[in-house]
Amino acid sequence: MKLKEISREELFRSSYGCAGCAAVLAVRLTLKVLGRNCVCVVPANCISTVSCYYPQTPFFVPMTVMAFAATGAALSGISAGFRRRGREDISVVGFSGDGGTADIGIQSLSGAIDGGYKFIYICYDNEAYMNTGIQRSGLTPYGATTTTTPAPCFETESKKDMLRIVAAHDIPYAATACTSYPLDFMQKVARANRVNGPTYIHVLAPCPTGWGFAPDRAIELGRMAVESGFWRLVELENGKLRTTHKPSRRRSVAEYFAAQTRFRQLSPEQIEEIQRNIDRRQAAGQAFSATG
C-alpha cells in the first residue's frame, strides 16, 4: 500500500473524541481501507461513547453499538447472517478497547475465533478503561498509574499478551500495529480483509487524556513505544510470526516513560529493571507483543 493509494473519503468523522485521540484515528484509518462495503460493531468504550448519540453519528457506514462483553459473538452472528444472504463480500469489523478485549470480552472473542466466521476484530489498546475514567485493565502495563492503581502505587501485573492468546486459537491472521505507523496498520487491515475467517488486529492507540501527554504528541508517543521496544509491530499468518517494522533507531524506555505522566512514580531502578526485561525478551525472541 502506498500513500497515494489511500482513500480520501472519511467514513468516520466529527466524533466527540478528545483532541489527539489515537483510538479515533484507528477507526478512521480502518474505514479508509475497508470502504463503504463494511459494517461496524462497537461495544461500550471510548469510541461508542464519543460517537453514537442520537441524532448524530460519525459513522458513514452501518454500525451498531454492542454490550461491553459481546463484540466477538455479535461479529459471528452478523457474519453468519450475511453468509446466509450470500453477502460474504461485506466486511464485518469490531472496534473494541483493551478492556473489552482482554478482560470482559475475552470469552466472547475466544468463542468467535473458534466459531470460524469471517470478521475483523480490532482491539484498539489505550492500556486502560478510559471511557469510565482511566481504570486499570488486563492490558495496563506494569508500572503505570490509573485511578484504580493510584500513586504512590502502580500497576503490578504485566500486560496480557493478546497476540499469543489469539495465536493459541490457530487464528488464520493476527497482527499488532500502532496508529503512529498508519501504512503498516492499514496494510494489515487490508490483509485481514482478504482472509475468509476470523482475524484479529491489536493496535496500540496512545491516549493523551489517560497517559498524560499533550494532544499533539500522540503520534510521537506511539513511535516512542515502538522505538523503545515497548511495543512491537508483527504479523501472524497461518502460524508464522513476522516482524513488519524494525525501528531504525532505538530509544530507551526511560525516554518513552518521561514523555507521559502515568509512569512518573517509578524510580530509575525500577525503570532500568523494565528495560532489562525488554532487552532480555527481545534477545530471546520471546513474547509476540507485550512487555512489562
Binding site: 463503504r36 453514537c52 462483553a69 459471528s76 452472528g77 470460524g116
Partner: protein, 392 residues
Amino acid sequence: MSTRTPARKYITANEAVACAARLARVEVIAAYPITPQTTIVEKLASFIARGEMDADFIKVESEHSALTACMGARMAGVRAFTSTSSQGLEYMHEMLAYVSGGRYPLVLVNVCRSVALPWSIWGDQQDAIQQRDTGWIQIFTETGQEAMDMVLQAYRIAEDHRILLPVMICLDGFIQSHTEELVEIPDQESVDSFLPPYDPVVTLDVDNPHTISMGGFGKHYAAWRREQQAAAEKAGEVIVEVGDEFARVFGRHYGGLIEPYRCEGAEAVILLMGALTGTAREVVDEMRADGQAVGLIKVRAFRPFPVQSLRQALSLVKAAAVLDRDCSWGYGGALATDLKAALYSLPNPPAMLNFIGGLGGADVSPEQMKYMLDKALAAKKGAPSSMEFIDL
C-alpha cells in the same frame, strides 16, 4: 383450514419446538446446552447434520454469546432462533434487554427450571419470572402441541411491524420437555402460508447505511421507551389476532391471552401458568361434578399482562387461588402480585390467596389443588390476601 393431513407423532415438547424452528425456516441458530433444554439444541443440530434443515448453527461458548449472535443475525436481516433454561437464561440477562430495546424480533424458547442457589435442575418458573422486566413478550404453554404452535405464532407476533419485540415461549422443564405426547406436526406449505419470510424494518445495510442501535439522552431516550411500552401493550391485541388466524389455518385455538375454563358462575377460581394446568383442569372437573362452583384460568401471556381480560374474568368471582411456581422474594408470587395490581380499583375484587408451590421440581398433586380451591371457596370477599408455601 389446510386440507393436507399433518403428521402425528409421539414426541416431547423439546422435539416439537425444534420442529417448529425448522418449519419457521429459521436460518441461524445459536444455542448453548443446559438441562432440560439440551435436547432442543441436539435435535436442531441433527436436523442440520442430516440435511433436513438449511441453517447455520453458530458454535458459541455461552448463552450470552448465543443471544448476541442471534441478535447479530437479525441485524443482518435473517431469522434466528435460540433456546435455553435457568442459569442460561440468567446468563443472557444483559442481552435480553439489548434485544428488546433494540427491537429485534427474536424468538427464544425457555424450558423453565429453578435457578441456583439452592441448586436444582428440576422445574419451576423462577428463571422466566426473573426476566419479567427485560422487555420480552412472555407466553407460557401447557403441552408440546401448544409449545410448537406458539413458536410458529411467536415469529408472526414478533416480526409484526406494529410490534417488533422479542418473544419468549416458556414450557415447563421435564413435565413438557421430557414427556412424549401425540403432537400434530403441520406441513411446510401450510406453515409457509401462515408465516411469510422475515421482512425486517432495518438492517445493517451497506447501500443504505444507518447507525441502527445507538445511545440517546433525555427526551429521545424516553420517547423510545414510550414506543416500546406502546408496542408491548399492542402485542396483547396481536397475540389474539395471530392466534385466531392460526386457528383458521390449523384448526387449533388456545384462547388468546388467558384461557378461562368452566368459569361460568364460578365462586372460586384457580389461576396458574404452564403445564400444571392439565392437573387443575381435572380437579375443576371433579369438583364441578360434586356441585362446587369452581373454575380455572390459565394465564398464557404474562407479558404483556392481560389486565383487561383478567378484570373481566374475575369481576364476579368471590376468591382467586393463584399458584405461583416462583416468588418475588420479599413480596410474593409474581402472578399473584401482578394480578393484585391488575384488579386494583375493581369495585368489589375477589379475595386473593397466593400459593407458592412446585418449586425445584416438586409435584403439585390434585389433592393440593383441591385444597387451594377449597380454601378459596371458604374465603370471603374483602378478606386480606394470603400467601402460603404448599410444598412443605
